[in-house]
Amino acid sequence: MNPLSIDTVLAVPEDVIFRELDGEAIILNLATGMYFGLDEIGTRLWAGVSDAGTLRVAVDRLDGEYDVRRDQLEADALDLARQLMDKGLLQVKG
């Protein structure tokens, strides 16, 4: 399997749903009951991935909005994606 990169095409599994309420974003896997809370940046990364399918698009949207270097933002995005994949909340498309 190729290593995860910001250009890896990702998909949200069929049983995974998302909602945001009062600043608390939660991703829930209905099949396993696993859920995951996201902070503001995580929520925006998730929205970018679920819309566009890659971390690059999600990072592009955030780049320059926060006081963080681009390489750090990419590293944080990859770390979040790995955590979500480990929990069955995100998967490589295909």
């Binding site: 749903i17 909602r19 309420l21 209905l30 009951g33 859920y35 995951f36 809370g37 929990k87």
Partner: protein
């Protein structure tokens, strides 16, 4: 009564379109008729998933005093998902904007089914109390049904303020809940049952109390 889709709930969040003008139009209809139809509130992929879940779900007959008798879906993942998705910031703020009811904190509802077999009925009644402000019924059926038309009127009046046949897939009716209003569903006709998610947006319930009992307590963190 029908309006273009302004808000749509998907598995991955909420999509909004139309902006302030569209919301103002919905609010105008709501003020005039005490209700408004929301086209395709549930997006097609989410609706298909829900319909597949409902196809395998268990229902039990439930009577609400002398008001109504229906089949009610037992609590399951499908109801948990609907509750989870509807209790969304943008959904609550949208309903506030359309209805003019501020401070909505949660939606709580059920999935029910009514058939034209003579056993199921819904009489004129109000839903006020327990902090309920706005009612909502979302059509979850796979086929258009006959009868089962939503009507709302002032108490003491025989003329409905509005009559809405909510047969579009994933369409919803928002309606006002107040002491001087009452509503009903007209008798069903034909072979197709009506299946809907119905409930209330209110100010007295914490969404966490609504969502948590229906979703797993397992945490991924």
């Amino acid at each position: 009564m029908s309006q273009a889709s302004v808000l749509q709930i998907t598995r991955h969040g909420v999509r909004a379109s139309g902006g302030a003008a569209a919301i103002a139009a919905l609010r105008g209809t709501f003020r005039a008729s005490a209700c408004v139809r929301l086209t395709a509130l549930l997006d097609p992929p989410l609706l298909s998933w829900i319909q597949a879940q409902i196809a395998g779900a268990e229902f039990e007959e439930r009577a609400h005093g002398t008001i109504s008798t229906e089949l009610c879906m037992r609590r399951n993942t499908c109801l948990g998902a609907l509750t989870f998705l509807i209790n969304e910031t943008r959904v609550l703020r949208f309903v506030e904007a359309v209805s003019g009811c501020p401070g909505l904190t949660a939606f709580a509802g059920r999935v029910y089914r009514v058939c034209a077999d003579g056993r199921h009925f819904d009489s004129w009644h109000g839903d006020s109390g327990a902090g309920r402000q706005v009612g909502m019924s979302v059509n979850l059926g796979r086929e258009p049904y006959e009868g089962g038309v939503f009507e709302i009127r002032r108490r003491g009046s025989t003329e409905p303020l509005a009559t809405v046949a909510n047969v579009g897939p994933g369409d919803a009716i928002l309606f006002s809940v107040a002491g001087d209003l009452e509503h009903r569903i007209t008798p069903m006709r034909g072979a197709v049952a009506k299946t809907a998610c119905a409930g209330w947006f209110g100010t007295a319930v914490d969404y966490r109390d609504v969502v948590r009992p229906q979703t797993s307590s397992r945490s991924a963190s």
